[in-house]
Amino acid sequence: MSTSTFGPGTFQPGTLPRAALRAEDVAAAPPLPDVLPPVKPRHGFLGFLRRNPTIAIGGGLMILILAMAVLAPLLWTVDPTALAPARRTREPSAMYWFGTDMLGRDVYSRVLYGARVSLIVGFAVAFFSSVIGLTIGLTSGFVRWADAIIMRIMDGLMSIPSILLAIALMALTRGSVGNVILAITIAEVPRVSRLVRGVVLSLREQPYVDAAVASGTSTPRIIVRHILPNTLAPLTVQATYICASAMIAESILSFIGAGTPPIIPSWGNIMAEGRALWQVKPYIVFFPAIFLSLTVLAVNLLGDGLRDWLDPRMAKKV
């Protein structure tokens, strides 16, 4: 025990020359207390959902509604257009879960089938307006002489409130799901074009685009390799929001009688038909209203989640 003089309690400041400190005499530092729990990176799909609860909730709800729309015939529904004057305006019961409307049609079946129209319109408008808006935005961002003309037209179209624009277009044609999609798409295209053009103009100033130009890359190749991939993130987020607003627009058009034809059950149509009776039979209006709100909420949550995930800098702000 040659080191006993250096044990705890025996040490006197200044009594030992510095040279007397030997490596084996110094006790190892005690382990630090676990102030921070060890970071366990969560991998895989479940980890992703845990880190992005908005995507998880929105996506989960969306999958449920999608399943409901696709599987509508299997979910104890009857023919949503079958008339039965003998059992008009029945209150919700074990027999008719959401009651029946003034023509005796089963509201539950109509609401489930109505989901199909909303989802088809939402997805189709989101897809078509993204593709068209991307094309116009890219053209506008790259073709100088076309930019001024295109943007003036887009400004003009954007100054007509989009639902009015869609109403005006629907007034020209007869009501059909295809025409509803077309009308809402035309009303949404200006917004997408503006977004894409803005992104393209800022990307064009990036050093890596300059480098590509300097090394002789052709314009189409620059667009495909350098510009397009960077527009996809904002475009995806925008498409989600467009999907949500298209669903609302479809229901508004159908509600005022300028949308989906009455023979096809859609949430807007069911509400339009229940309107006359809503003070005495509110359930005809409320069930489609709840489903519409939930669906739009799911899509909006998905959009917010995607935005935060794709652009974390934005997450804390908006």
């Binding site: 003036r152 037209i153 400004d155 003009g156 179209l157 100054s159 007509i160 409130p161 989009s162 639902i163 009015l164 624009l165 109403i167 005006a168 629907m170 007034a171 020209l172 949500a244 609302i248 229901s251 508004i252 509600f255 005022i256 009688g257 300028a258 509400m271 309107r275 809503w278 003070q279 509110p282 209006v285 409320f286 209203a289 709840i290 519409l292 709100s293 739009v296 909420l297 909006n300 949550l301 917010d304 804390k316 702000k317 908006v318």
Partner: protein, 313 residues
């Protein structure tokens, strides 16, 4: 400043021209032949041709557009196919309810949304903030007629506090007028409140990190003073801009709100005109709404200097 104002006003001309061209084309390509309608069932094709020529419908597209635009500028919006009344008269009869609804909604929305956004930014990350943001997502998701029906059901049918539907002109007293507009305004304001609250919060968060806020705090300015005087003033421009852009939501929403609450305004006029395919009326209303929207945003653009004296043109 004068040069800027002039430039800004001139810049709205092409926008309005595009709107006018679009709205005119709507009538131009609309199905149905006015000449055939006027000629009636007994007319020969030659009669129809003669009437078409007398109406000037056989002239080229651009000539007709120029004449139509000239008439619009003189205030002549055409004649309704259905009622045979001038469209401008029909609009004048219906404008008060819509204007009332929009003004009340605007006041209500700004009054609620701005403080909401400010408080959410101040209490960032707390449950108050989350509540406000949650409300904003809901506001974007629940369509205006859904809110309308729920409000009417709860406050008019169940509680019987307010009238269910209808409209009372302001000439018959302010309170009866206001009573009929409360529920529609709240319903219509939902999306608008969500939009303004979200932008207010985002802008305030940014402003609150600025050096001059720290200076104000160091100098002993109280929390309300910092939030509403120092910060909100500097956050005004984006907030005012989004209030202007959001007017489009109000216009679109008014069409539906008026249907839900049976308010005889321009929105009802539009819906009725669509169901009757009364194209001159549809045209007139869309033109009016769009020009109003452009004008509102022009005024807001010009007001920027008022909110932020640093902006110089």
């Amino acid at each position: 400043m004068f040069a800027y104002t002039l430039r800004r006003i001139v810049a709205t001309i092409p926008v309005m021209a595009v709107v006018a061209l679009f709205v005119f084309s709507l009538l131009y390509i609309s199905p149905g032949d006015p000449a055939a309608v006027i000629a009636g069932d007994q007319a020969t094709p030659a009669d129809v041709e003669r009437i078409r020529a007398s109406l000037g419908l056989d002239r080229p597209y651009l000539v007709r557009f120029a004449e139509w635009a000239w008439n619009i500028m003189r205030g002549d919006l055409g004649t309704s196919i259905f009622t045979n009344l001038p469209v401008s008269t029909m609009i004048a009869q219906r404008i008060q309810p819509t204007l009332s609804l929009m003004v009340i909604t605007l006041i209500l929305a700004i009054g609620i949304a701005v403080p909401m956004g400010v408080i959410a930014a101040w209490k960032q990350g707390t449950w108050i903030d989350r509540l406000v943001m949650g409300f904003a997502v809901l506001g974007f998701s629940v369509p205006v007629f859904v809110v309308g029906y729920v409000l009417a059901y709860v406050f008019a049918l169940e509680l019987d506090w307010l009238p269910v539907q209808g409209y009372t002109p302001i000439e018959r007293g302010v309170w009866p007028w206001l009573q009929n507009l409360i529920l529609p305004s709240v319903a219509l304001g939902g999306v608008y409140i969500a939009l303004i609250a979200r932008i207010t919060r985002a802008t305030m968060l940014e402003v609150l990190q600025q050096d001059y806020i720290r200076t104000a705090r160091a100098k002993g300015v109280g929390q309300p003073g910092i939030l509403f005087l120092h910060a909100l003033k500097n956050a005004a421009v984006p907030i005012v801009t989004v209030i202007g852009i959001g007017v489009a939501l109000l216009i679109g929403g008014a069409v539906v709100t008026e249907s839900v609450f049976a308010i005889p305004g321009l929105g009802r006029l539009t819906v009725d005109a669509i169901l009757r395919r009364d194209y001159p009326v549809i045209q007139g209303v869309i033109l009016l709404f769009s020009f109003t929207y452009v004008l509102v945003n022009l005024v807001i653009d010009l007001l920027y200097t008022l909110f932020d004296p640093r902006i110089r043109y």
